[in-house]
């Protein structure tokens, strides 16, 4: 049951094949077994069981709230959850209990979803590995998969199995690990520069970033107000569409949500005619650092569309090479502003110094933030200094427009959807990843994903195939603004073509019969 898709489980709940409480307990049990992955910061067991009870009543009375009723979900720990600790993996908010729910959390709860817990991340969502939070790094479940381990046994140099565990990518690594390890059916992440799509690619999941303005940011502890969006992680595209249907829409508490009547993409149509599609391949994304395996899959994907009659065009996004630099300046600048709210007075950590407000703020912030956060605050403040403002911040804002225009031009040339890699390569071992600092890694790993955030476009990472090492590789589709439904429709068609394998975690679990049984049905289900 745990290996099924959200759609399937929802049907099973409606038909009474399983009750919400049973489902909840299975997930809780699996969370305990997979604790070593460090995907969860807080497991909200009591809350989830209570919600399950209420869901069960509704099903008994034939009054289910919809497809999400009784479905276990997880939420990244930078979304406020009423009565449940929300830490952003930082000492600054350790012990902080919000008095309200983020709008997206509220929407999930209103649909009857079961909140299993809050997932781990890089501190304040700054990072691309989910390695820099105070609760420690998240381990990629694929490190323990049969697919990966079998390949490693062939390698005579393979060492002790656990010291070489792989990162999940980030910053929504906990959410990705939670879904990938079957402990829930969907998880919320956030996406500012690729933080949902990157771990999705590394963990073999669908990672969806909606158009900026489609989904409310109220309650998402902000990093970069002009780029942040809540992200969705699921095991298949249909599931992501279901969650998006529940979350999309205007919110009076977030004035950056748009009020257009948008077609809620609840059920995705099957893509009738691929030959009517025009796929754009941005040539500047073919960089030397791209691994040959990813490049090969990218090429095969383009060929696939072409063989089905779609038009496949090379397009140019000329400012691509400046995109990461521009992002770096704008991101640190907005971060400098957003982190200013953490002064110890109204919430969060407060130090013991009482000499003066400035001394108290400074010490509180030194104790509360890690090096990465402090580094970005300082960089941001540098770019915002009077003497630097024009040359750095405003300059970056101008470059941002050029980047956004690049996309507009590409779409205006008749392209419906762009196809690019999501990451440079498959997931790397943690010991390898930490050889470079956070900023360097982020600059490297965000390269294909962050331009999308600057332009506010929808994008999705779809798992395509396993690498030679048995690890997931994903590709990214980018759509026009507010054409999220069309984007997901194309992605769904592609997903069906590639038939990405289900992760085999049976070596991991002791009593694995339940998982094994459902793996078969899961692999059948994906072959619709």
């Amino acid at each position: 049951m745990l290996g099924r898709t959200l759609q399937e489980v929802s049907a099973a709940l409606k038909q009474g094949q399983i009750t919400p409480t049973e489902l909840c307990q299975k997930c809780l049990s699996l969370i305990k077994k997979t604790k070593f992955l460090n995907a969860y910061i807080t497991v909200s067991e009591e809350v989830a069981l209570k919600q399950a009870e209420e869901s069960e009543k509704r099903y008994k009375n034939g009054q289910s709230l919809g497809d999400l009723d009784g479905i276990p979900v997880a939420v990244k720990d930078n979304f406020s959850t009423s009565g449940i600790e929300t830490t952003c993996a930082s000492n600054m908010l350790k012990g902080y209990i919000p008095p309200y729910n983020a709008t997206v959390v509220q929407k999930l709860l209103d649909q009857g979803a079961l909140l299993m817990g809050k997932t781990n991340l890089d501190e304040f969502a700054m990072g691309s590995g989910s390695t820099d939070g105070i609760f420690g790094p998240v381990k990629n479940p694929w490190s323990y998969s049969k697919q990966y381990r079998e390949k490693r046994k062939q390698n005579p140099h393979s060492k002790n199995e656990d010291s070489d565990w792989l990162i999940t990518g980030g910053s929504s690594g906990g959410s990705a690990a939670a879904v990938s390890a079957f402990t829930c059916y969907a998880a919320l992440g956030s996406d500012t520069g690729g933080s949902t799509r990157n771990p999705a690619a590394h963990c073999g999941l669908v990672g969806f970033k909606p158009s900026y303005g489609l989904v409310s940011r109220h309650g998402l502890i902000p990093l970069v107000n002009s780029m942040d969006v809540p992200g969705i992680l699921t095991r298949c595209v249909d599931d992501a569409a279901i969650v998006l249907g529940a979350l999309a829409g205007p919110d009076p508490k977030d004035s950056t949500t748009v009020h257009d009547p948008i077609n809620k993409p609840f059920m995705l149509p099957s893509l009738a005619d691929v030959s009517k599609l025009c796929i754009g391949i941005p040539k500047e994304y073919l960089i030397p650092e791209l691994s040959s395996e990813v490049r090969s899959l990218w090429s095969k994907a383009a060929d696939l569309f072409e063989s089905e009659g779609a038009k496949v065009l090379e397009v140019s996004l000329p400012h691509t090479s400046y995109s990461i630099v521009c992002y770096h300046v704008l991101c640190t600048s907005e971060v400098a502003s957003n982190m200013a709210r953490f002064d110890g007075l109204q919430y969060g950590h407060r130090c013991d110094i009482n000499v003066s407000t400035e001394a108290m703020y400074a010490a509180t912030r030194r104790e509360g933030f890690n090096d990465v956060v402090r580094g970005r605050i300082l960089s941001g403040n540098f770019f915002l200094l009077k003497e630097n403002y024009e040359n750095y911040f405003v300059k970056a804002q101008k470059v941002r427009r050029l980047i956004a225009n690049d996309f507009v031009n590409a779409f205006n040339s008749g392209v419906d959807v762009l196809l690019t890699p999501t990451t440079l390569s498959e997931a790397v071992p943690y010991l390898e990843f930490i050889k470079e600092d956070n900023r360097t890694r982020s600059a490297q790993d965000d390269i294909f994903t962050q331009a999308v955030n600057m332009a506010g476009l929808p994008a999705v990472s779809i798992p395509v195939a396993l690498s030679n090492q048995g690890l997931p590789i994903g590709l990214q589709f980018i759509g026009r603004a507010f054409c999220d439904q069309q984007l997901l429709t194309v992605a769904k068609w592609f997903e069906k073509q590639v038939q990405f394998p289900v992760i085999q975690l049976q070596e991991l679990m002791d009593d694995c019969s339940a998982v094994l049984e459902n793996e078969k049905s899961a692999s059948v289900s994906l072959k619709q």
């Binding site: 521009c326 009482n354 003066s356 300082l378 405003v394 427009r401």
Partner: protein
């Protein structure tokens, strides 16, 4: 201070004065020479933007710049949650958040105790 050990590859623009200024504005300290070196690298990285021709280009603040922000009507519909808000603070007296005395500047760098390396 930190600048004497600053990264030789850096722009060399992070003088002691800039460090002090940034620490006061950000109310976050560098804490180490490595942090200063990292800032220098970050600036060098950002300097690459100079190569882009942005003549006549307007800065972009938001991707939704062509739309109007939605405004709610000016009616009070929620509030009265003082208790909930006060709950999260470490130091509260009745309905006040308690702050230490203000208008006292941080001591200058050379007057301060050296911060422990974090």
């Amino acid at each position: 201070g930190f600048t004497s050990k600053a990264d030789p590859q850096g722009s060399g623009r992070i003088t002691a004065q800039v460090i002090e200024h940034l620490e006061r504005l950000a109310l976050v300290d560098f804490g180490s020479c490595e942090a200063v070196a990292r800032l220098e690298k970050a600036i060098a990285f950002a300097d690459r933007l100079r190569a882009v021709d942005t003549d006549g280009v307007e800065p972009m603040e938001s991707v939704l710049e062509d739309r109007c922000l939605y405004l709610r009507s000016d009616n009070v519909v929620e509030g009265n949650c003082a208790d909930e808000l006060l709950q999260n603070s470490h130091r509260v007296v009745e309905e006040y958040f308690v702050a230490p005395p203000g208008n006292i500047s941080l001591p200058k760098l050379d007057e301060q105790e050296p911060f422990p390396h974090s």
